[in-house]
Symmetry: C2
Subunit: 345 residues, 2 copies
């Protein structure tokens, strides 16, 4: 009999999710039925969208029910199989959440090829975050050669892909990040044309200096004061794919006034802006194949680079998740739940 | 020598434009040069966009300069011509503004056929307002059969066309207007499926009852509390063409809080909304020909009806314009500046 240690949602948090939002339990897993596999979690992906699933506010997905395992994409090793399609030792992409082991139908997993790319990239640049960048930027942002593309949280897995894909398309990429080290990484390691520190007291002026021709595409994934500064730099016919507003995810009430909503709608009008919210899954039927082909090539050729932050131990997931919402990490945040058999020790 | 009585912009108004925003002068017009025509104004169109031209805030068009004649589309009679393309007695569409006479190049006018449709319609259902409805609804709103389209200021020249075109496309049209008489006109005379009075204390509940399947397209031309109520009824993937926010045109500062902007951006995200500002002229190259053909046919066949409010006398334009911004009129607002030779007395 195999057991799984699970982190479950214990309460819908108000504001930042404290430790009391979770409970940790160890359960016995059932015997495998036909078609099922037993998985051992190697990496758990932590992503901002999870905050939305910890809320009962109306959204595109149902909230996690109280007492349920916290959801999340994982890379796992198959440790037992009753499916002809999966062998013991296979490494797969799954959606087993915040736990050490799980029993799932084999068809809910996708086999990964450790020779093609590090398996962790299936959770980042070659996974959902990379696809979010690819679909949102190309389908909604539609950057043209010579245009200026701005993205915040720019060292993160979505933002870094947005900027680098923008450059592939001939646009100028300006990244916004918190602190000088992240800004250095953007320009020196990720190839952005410019980087702006949103924590600097001269942020508004710095952004203006970094976007002398205005902004044609703003890939929105943070909200807050970054958004307010960017709005003032938009050009006519600018496009704003909205994929997240992480700065406001922990907000418990509407901020104090004045009310900026009328001015925003007026700006949409006077500048003929396009503002379009999206969830990456809507682009899967039309863009998934091209994404895997394009992005694998770009990563292989070094045109698109990626960064990972790996936190050790499932028990540290709650604290890591709080750090994620506060912008404490530089690259794609992963929790190492178990050993990765595909890397040399 | 011919004179023209002109209403000029005397000051950029703060809030509602009072009489002191204007000055009335009578000037002598120059002799006609080759290619020019002398026009006598029959109808002056008053439209909400004019409030934006009375402001130096950044927008898609330059403000009217102080001391300049207030701009506006007109229907005029040619009273003298030095162009082979225009004869005395021709009735033309022009853009001569708030004045009784003007000298302009003949090529800046478009000849109207009084037999095809009343010449006043060139300022309304067959002119810029009708084209605004047509381009914005079909290109951005893209109503599908069975979907629900909501428009405010629904008896106005844009709103009434939006609702009626939506019905042509098989969608359900719900109009929002101020007061029971306008709501009656929407359903009884303009063929809307339902009408909701935004001045009613039960407006929010009434809107919910009138949109049992939610809202798929919201054609935004008013802003204010109407917009706030509509946002709560939007379906996933709803489209919002933004063509005006007249409720806020006279606003002198951002309203008091709370700040609804974060919640709006979050709703764009969670519902995958498309919000797109536009000015009708961007659709001229692609949609003008189809518009004139479609709309003329619909008007001729009685599929699309229109209403006009005619205020007599150029001197009453400032007061009429204030009424327009307050929603005092039911249909397309025209100022009758001179006799219309195409209608029987």
């Amino acid at each position: 009999m195999t057991t799984s240690t699970q982190i479950r949602l214990a309460a819908y948090p108000v504001g930042e999710p404290g430790d009391d939002a979770y409970e940790t339990v160890t359960v016995e897993l059932p015997e495998l039925a036909d078609g099922q596999v037993l998985l051992r979690t190697i990496y758990l992906s932590l992503d901002p969208y999870m905050r939305g699933r910890m809320s009962t506010a109306k959204s595109y997905a149902e909230p996690v029910a109280l007492g349920e395992v916290m959801v999340g994409a994982t890379v796992c090793e198959v440790v037992a199989s009753r499916s002809p399609d999966r062998a013991v030792g296979d490494v797969v992409l799954a959606y087993t959440g915040w736990q050490t082991h799980a029993v799932v139908p084999a068809r809910h997993t996708r086999r990964l090829d450790p020779e093609a790319a590090p398996v962790s990239t299936a959770l980042g640049v070659l996974g959902m975050p990379g696809f979010t960048a690819y679909g949102g930027l190309l389908e909604i942002g539609r950057p043209q050669p010579g245009e200026t593309v701005v993205v915040a949280a720019a060292t993160g897995p979505v933002g870094s892909a947005v900027g680098q894909i923008a450059r592939v398309k001939g646009a100028r990429a300006v990244g916004i990040a918190g602190g000088p080290e992240k800004c250095r990484v953007l320009v020196d390691e990720l190839g952005f044309d410019a980087a702006v520190d949103h924590r600097s007291p001269t942020f508004v002026e710095d952004l203006a200096a970094a976007t002398p021709d205005g902004i044609d595409v703003y890939f929105e994934n943070v909200g807050g004061h970054v958004t307010e500064a960017v709005l003032r730099r938009l050009n006519r016919f600018a496009r704003i794919p909205v994929c997240g507003v992480v700065a406001w995810y922990n907000a418990t009430a509407a901020p104090e006034g004045p009310d900026q909503f009328p001015a925003f709608l007026r700006r949409i009008l006077t500048l003929s802006l396009t503002v379009r919210g999206f969830i990456q899954d809507e682009f899967v039927p039309t863009h998934q194949e091209a994404f895997l082909s394009d992005m694998s090539g770009w990563v292989r050729d070094g045109v698109v680079r990626y960064q990972e932050d790996v936190v050790d131990g499932l028990e540290n997931a709650p604290e890591a998740f709080r750090g994620l919402l506060r912008g404490a990490y530089l690259g794609k945040l992963l929790v190492q739940v178990g050993d990765d058999p595909t890397v040399d020790p």
